[in-house]
């Protein structure tokens, strides 16, 4: 049982867990505290000096990030003394900052801009030569470093030290010549988190650089389908497409972080080669086709469905409902394990985002979800059959998928239901039919812990509202 204490923050009573971080308690209670170096997922550095507070009975101001909550504490950060201190400290942060906001990707979500609106002195007294440091450094893993924009909060060095334990980053030199340096190029699989935790534009993502202004983007809060972990994420998108994936704090699953693999899960959704309408294979070239011709073709033929593991529980249920009463056979294609079973942080080798949900749905509908079941279905395919393959949303191992495609060549009619791009290997199909991607549907998946994870729909691209149950109904035509 965690003991609660009451304390007073700027004259307001707030409640917090005894001994918990004072700054975090204030933030949790909706109080505003300027801070750069503090991050709930990292150790305390206490170097940005922005979160200073005064306490009754304590002679000197102190940083709230290095204090713990105690009963009856009376804390203020709205006194003239503290306000002046924050203003001055912000001035020091901006002193040697290049102010290249017009070409900086962080603009719009930058800690310096945000606090400048609130605590800025506006009247610049800096007429001296600024300290210049190296800009545009590619430090590996899609991360770009601009040492000049850096405010040396040390979040990134603490991240590589404490979270990934790879120690690629360090701070070299002293005083105002101190700068972030790479001992070796980034090699950890969580490097993109550095971009997220950097409060300014010092670390930016090569993938996102110069693509969009953040104020033109909206966030979809959903779940990563990159592996069975199922991290909480948000995808930034607008009508032109999706641009980036960032982790969302989730205590039970991913904490503050996500892996680099998960950062690219959005790419197929608004890709120019994304399948948008039903297409027919004309000698290796896919051209838009009339759906009624497909229906005509499959009518009366035996259907074989090979489902993927990245569909939602609801989709599986609707699908099995749609084929009820038919002679269609159904099997499940599971993605092969990729890399170690668990890398010790978040990433898992099992890339099947909703394997547990799929298995449950198969069992409920009386179908075999094992690989033996898949082989059985594949072996039984005859020339007069129709083979439907639901293409996995994220294909880590295309070769493995191609061996599956080899096995369905026996069927005369081969149809792919794909939420993504048209791959070269898809020439094996006669028809390609679009299904919604994970970003275009509401539903649930079950992660490795057996926890239900929510998928949310963002903007839709093309004719992708027809899910697999729509095509499943064709078996009874």
């Amino acid at each position: 049982m965690t003991e609660k204490v009451k304390l007073t923050w700027n004259g307001k009573q707030i409640e917090a867990v005894k001994g918990s971080n004072l700054l975090q308690a204030a933030l949790d209670n909706g109080q505003e505290v300027a801070h750069y170096c503090y991050h709930a997922g990292l150790s305390i550095a206490g170097v940005c000096r922005m979160c200073m507070v005064e306490q009754d009975g304590v002679p000197r101001p102190f940083p709230s990030c290095n204090a713990t909550c105690g009963e009856g504490m009376v804390i203020r950060n709205d006194t003239p003394k503290i306000k002046a201190a924050v203003e001055n400290t912000l001035q020091f942060h901006l002193l040697n900052h290049p102010l290249d906001c017009p070409v900086c990707d962080q603009a719009g979500e930058c800690g310096l801009q945000d606090y400048y609106m609130k605590h800025g002195q506006y009247d610049s007294q800096m007429i001296d030569k600024k300290v210049h440091k190296e800009k545009v450094q590619d430090i590996g893993k899609n991360v770009m470093l601009d040492a000049e924009r850096c405010i040396l909060c040390s979040r990134c060095t603490r991240f590589t030290e404490e979270v990934t334990k790879t120690n690629e980053l360090g701070i070299l030199n002293r005083g105002d010549h101190a700068e972030i340096t790479v001992n070796e190029n980034l090699k950890n699989d969580y490097a993109q988190n550095l971009v997220d935790i950097c409060p300014v534009g010092a670390l930016t993502s090569k993938d996102f650089r110069f693509k969009q202004r953040v104020w033109f983007l909206e966030e979809v809060y959903t779940t990563c389908i990159g592996c069975e972990t199922g991290c909480s994420v948000k995808v930034s998108q607008n009508k032109n497409g999706s641009y980036r994936v960032k982790p969302v704090f989730d205590e039970t699953v991913n904490g503050h972080w996500m892996c680099d693999d998960g950062r690219s899960i959005y790419k197929h959704v608004s890709s120019p080669t994304r399948l948008q309408v039903a297409s027919e294979n004309m000698n290796g070239l896919f051209v838009p086709a009339d759906e009624s011709r497909v229906v005509e073709l499959v009518t009366g033929k035996k259907a074989n469905f090979i489902l993927s593991t990245s569909l939602t529980n609801e989709e599986y249920a609707r699908f099995f409902e749609s084929i009820k009463g038919s002679k269609a056979s159904v099997a499940l294609y599971t993605l092969p394990t990729q890399g170690p079973e668990f890398d010790g942080i978040l990433r898992r080798g099992d890339k099947n985002a909703n394997l547990r949900g799929a298995q449950k749905a198969f069992e409920a509908a009386g179908f075999d979800h094992t690989s033996a079941g898949l082989d059985k279905v594949l072996n039984a395919i005859s020339a007069s059959d129709v083979a439907y393959v639901v293409v996995p949303e994220i294909l880590y191992n295309e070769d493995h998928f191609n061996t599956l495609l080899k096995k369905i060549e026996k069927a005369s009619t081969r149809i792919a239901l794909t939420p993504g791009e048209t791959l070269s290997s898809m020439k094996v199909f006669n028809y390609l039919l679009p299904v919604p991607s994970f970003l275009e549907k509401e539903g649930h998946i079950v992660n490795f812990q057996g926890t239900q994870r929510q998928l949310n729909a963002g903007l839709s691209y093309g004719e992708t509202t027809k899910d697999i149950s729509y095509y499943g109904k064709w078996v009874n035509v």
Binding site: R49, L95, A178
Partner: protein, 433 residues
């Protein structure tokens, strides 16, 4: 023969720290012991450690590194669990510009420090100690190493010291020459093999220090005073100095005096006496202009303040400066305060560790503002900007370096504003390179 005997006898009457310094070859353990050295160490092993702590506390000895925090009180914060792993560190970094007292003490008489450390280790129950010595003090490090070897050979250090079942290993660690490694947590970081950056407090080193274990850090001079205090008792020690600043203190005097050097006088001695009597007066009979009383981070005293101040913690503080490490820098009328300011600001800009923003950016900016004359951008209002900027750095950082840079700057502005204004408005051509 008699004369030699006299030279071999310690002068406890006049000195506590330099009581052996007149003895030739006292850096040798044999000579030191003949003069009475290591007697107190042997005697203290029969005493209750808590009783030793009490004596040190009662003596009113205050940390001689600069902060002046009572040593006995600091010891009181230390864990009493004798079996717990913990460290005793001696701060011999002595990086404050103008200070060279620890160097003088260690160079001539390393054993007084070692004896003091063994007694302190016994009192505190530490099993391991390090003497963190400034990188530039190569010769002194060699002297200390040799002295340690002698002490080990005699069985005063190592396992089961003098059969008392007490273990204490002592090592010399040489720094790499950063000012900030004289700050106790910066020193601990450096000793741990990291960049010499001060650590966030709390936790204080007494609770969580070197390698995350309880660590006591004391200055050379504080530790070296312990044997004398144990020999004659707290009351005798308190006969020196003032009520709140007990004992004697080493002062490093440099600058425009006839006899610069290290002296040991009771706290509370007037600065006038130090200059006129101990240092033989001002050089060339020049008029005294200013005195930096406690190392480069102490605000400067003008002529009148210098001649009225008594050198103890309280009196110096009441006149707006600090006793610090006891580094007295004397300037005569031929000196320009602008040069002192420039040199001070350059130093702190160079030595800021770069951790906390106000200090990292502020120290550099102070220097830039003051040097605007080199780029032709100077105006008289710059002094106000300088004063304001310095004020906004104070009390905002993990360690006191920001204050150490801001305080002397503000002090010089307070006492010598018109001279500084004239200085910054004098164009130089150094910027045209």
């Amino acid at each position: 023969m008699e004369r030699i005997m006299e030279k071999d006898t310690a002068n406890y009457k006049d000195y506590s720290l330099l009581s052996y310094h007149h003895i030739p070859g006292v850096h040798n353990l044999e000579v030191f012991e003949r003069a009475g050295g290591y007697e107190m160490m042997k005697a203290c092993f029969d005493k209750d450690p808590e009783a030793i702590k009490e004596v040190v506390k009662a003596s009113g000895l205050r940390g001689r590194g600069g902060a002046g925090f009572p040593t006995g009180v600091k010891w009181g914060f230390f864990t009493k669990d004798r079996n717990a792993q913990k460290y005793l560190l001696c701060n011999a970094d002595e990086s404050e510009p103008g200070t060279f007292k620890d160097r003088y003490l260690v160079e001539k008489n390393p054993h007084i420090l070692i004896e003091g450390m063994i007694i302190s280790a016994w009192a505190l129950g530490t099993q391991k100690g390090y003497i963190y010595i400034r990188g530039e003090f190569q010769q002194q490090a060699v002297i200390l190493e040799r002295a340690l070897k002698e002490a080990y050979a005699k069985g005063y250090l190592g396992k089961n010291i003098l059969g008392k079942g007490f273990n204490f290993d002592l090592y010399v660690h040489r720094g790499a020459g950063a000012y900030i490694c004289g700050e106790e947590t910066g020193m601990i970081s450096s000793l741990e093999g990291k960049k010499g950056q001060p650590k966030l407090k709390p936790p204080f080193p007494a609770i969580k220090g070197y390698r995350g274990l309880p660590t006591m850090v004391n200055n050379v001079e504080s530790l070296a005073a312990v044997p004398w205090i144990m020999r004659f008792g707290a009351d005798e020690y308190k006969k020196w100095g003032t009520e709140k600043s007990a004992g004697t203190k080493l002062f490093s005097i440099s600058g425009d005096v006839n006899k610069p050097g290290v002296i040991e006088v009771p706290l509370g001695t007037t600065l006038k006496e130090i200059i006129e009597v101990h240092c033989g007066g001002m050089r060339n009979g020049n008029k005294l202009k200013a005195v930096v009383p406690g190392g480069s981070s102490a605000p400067v005293f003008n002529h009148d303040e210098s001649y009225s101040v008594k050198m103890d913690y309280e009196d110096v503080a009441s006149k707006g400066s600090m006793l610090g490490s006891g580094a007295i820098i004397v300037l005569d009328e031929t000196r320009n305060i602008g040069d002192l300011m420039k040199w001070t600001l350059e130093f702190y800009h160079h030595e800021s560790c770069g951790q906390c923003t106000p200090c990292r950016e502020g120290t550099g900016w102070l220097e830039s503002i003051f040097k605007r004359r080199e780029t032709g951008k100077a105006s008289k209002a710059d002094i106000d900007t300088l004063d304001k900027t310095a004020a906004s750095m104070r009390g905002q950082t993990i360690c006191a370096l920001a204050d150490a840079a801001a305080m002397p700057a503000q002090g010089m502005i307070k006492s010598f504003r018109s001279e500084l204004e004239a200085y910054i408005m004098t164009p130089t051509n150094t910027g045209k390179k």
